[in-house]
Symmetry: C2
Subunit: 362 residues, 2 copies
């Protein structure tokens, strides 16, 4: 294959593995010689059900998901989960704890307030979301229906270096930008969710992993399509699911399994991140504002010594085939997202470019 492929550091929708895209391209109009595209087949057909079931099983294998958890393939992105979580789970005491470490966990909290007593258990907004709180800093309510947090904030590049201990209170986590990046003990969580468009597949799919005992408690006003139990009882096919995105997610899971699974990719991810942070810290030209213990291995924001050089940096990096390095529109600066599908060569090329740029402009 001679597909031209640039190095893509987009925060999401993000890079997908080249072999996955090439395979999908080849079989797009004629899947497995059947004479039609997988996206033209009924979701009730044996072929599509097999593809979807295999994707779920591969994800279960990759993450070692215990049997008492349901895996749901939903729509509407993590933003829809911000409503679904309180609608489905804030139904005991009507109270939930939210740890706020960036724009996404703040949005989740704001939406939850509309449905009950959503309390901020800790916030790092005062330090401009440049760290995560320690376990000791969390003010948790023993009677909360759940505790919500975001282990990796995509915009700020802030990650937790531990899983919060919430005792018997279910822990709910937005893993959108870090699912499948490193091994995870799923049994520590009541629920895990992730929009697909970082480490899983195209936008429009959202994976939910939820402990069975949390199903069936939805508030009366919950839309049927937002009810986890309805989704679970119908194997994520209460209505027509986004079958093509589900199929692509399955190809990504296969690719990751072939690569050696989450342990193998975690080793690569940590190496990629370490090299980039080490370069930034030693450059004397670039800087990352996040507390060292809380640096994300997926999203690496950085600033230049002089922000007036930002525009030139973006122009030249794009010309060099290093795409989508602009920071989030709300914070500016640069950000390199180095998800599972971003190869190690991309980080090498980025560091080489950054060094050359610093030499010429420092």
């Amino acid at each position: 294959m001679s597909t031209k492929r640039a190095f893509n550091f987009c925060a999401g929708p993000a890079a997908l593995p080249t072999p996955v895209l090439e395979k999908a391209g080849l079989e797009l109009a004629d899947w497995h010689g059947k004479g039609l595209s997988i996206m033209e087949m009924s979701h009730r057909s044996a072929d599509v059900v097999a593809v979807c079931d295999k994707a779920e099983q591969d994800l279960r294998d990759l993450m070692a998901i215990p049997d008492n958890y349901k895996v749901l393939f939903m729509q509407g992105g993590a933003s829809s989960q911000f409503s679904m979580i309180p609608l489905n789970l804030m139904t005991g005491s009507g109270k939930a704890d939210y740890i706020v470490t960036g724009q996404w966990s703040k949005k989740a909290w704001q939406e939850a307030k509309r449905y009950g007593n959503a309390v901020v258990a800790a916030s790092t907004e005062s330090n401009n979301f440049s760290s995560a709180p320690s376990q000791a800093e969390l003010v948790l309510s023993p009677d909360a229906d759940y505790v919500h947090y975001c282990p990796n904030e995509t915009i700020g590049g802030v990650a937790f270096d531990y899983i919060p201990d919430t005792g018997d209170v279910p822990l709910v986590a937005d893993f959108s930008s870090v699912l499948l990046a490193e091994p995870l003990d799923v049994s520590r969580f009541g629920m895990i969710y992730a929009g697909a468009q970082k480490n899983i597949g195209p936008a429009g799919l959202c994976v939910v992993i939820i402990r069975e005992d949390l199903l069936g408690k939805a508030q009366a006003c919950t839309p049927t399509m937002f009810d986890y139990k309805v989704c679970a009882d119908n194997a994520s096919m209460y209505n027509t699911p986004p079958t093509y995105s589900w199929y692509l997610a399955g190809l990504v899971f296969e690719w990751l399994k072939d690569l050696g699974g989450v342990d193998a990719i975690a080793e690569i991810n940590h190496r990629k991140a370490k090299r980039l942070y080490d370069y930034i810290d030693n450059s004397g030209f670039y800087a990352n504002p996040v507390a060292i213990a809380n640096r994300s291995i997926m999203n690496v924001p950085f600033t230049l010594a002089d922000s007036k050089l930002d525009k030139l940096f973006l122009q030249e990096s794009e010309a060099a085939g290093l795409l989508n390095l602009a920071g989030h529109r709300s914070v500016g600066g640069m950000r390199a997202s180095i998800y599972n599908a971003v190869p190690e060569e991309a980080v090498t090329a980025l560091i080489d470019f950054m060094a050359d740029f610093a030499r010429r402009n420092g």
Copy 2:
């Protein structure tokens, strides 16, 4: 191109135009020489925004959508609309009229009852959903917030041969299986919606066309992602939309424009449907139960003289490259969905096969 393509009569996800799939396949891993897939690009990027804007404009052109209507690209399928409609619109008198002519309009009504006073304005369930009520048979409430109906019921193959006159009450219509099949006076409607997986694109996208004065009235418990005003104010990008599905929809709209637009496809559609119904009616072997005036031009259910032959019919038709002719699991029999992307040759091949099968088994 030598892609093998079968004739696909699936009710949804359904056939898409072969040229669209071939183009999408070729540029899947490298869109327009950019070195990345369109599904790997930020939804805020100039390229993706241009693709999305063009898709909207092409749809506006195809349907002659008046300027005082918003076009929204949402997720969750028509089933999510069943909740969104009452949540957003049943907020004046709290009452809405539902015309029930099949399983989908019945589902819409059942969901609406959860959010207010959803009244059945007419139902054809007593005749097993084999007709649509006349205008005179509709019992409409002058104070209803809206009237809902489904102009084309996919499962029963039942269509309205007129647009209900609801006076000043907004008319809301589920056009999932008939959007873009024939010309439509959008100004007669308060809102039109359609799941993509029939005439638009892959599953996971839902098009909503809504008159601007209906925005901004949502019930307090409406999830932010279910609020039409939020979606409209953010040009369908409040969160990451399903960009790849949106792009594919855009390719389908381009294909339809190139073909001559909705007038041109309507002529083909009517010819396809007439040929199939004429054959069925004259066959002495096959039958369609729907009142002649209410026969769908998109979904053609039919039964065999002896239902014991169903299995053989499905086996032999599949072997002949005529796929997905089984009726909906809830009704049995056969169903040929002949959407825009199903070519006239497919109908010819189907009729030839049906005639041969009848000859051998009649």
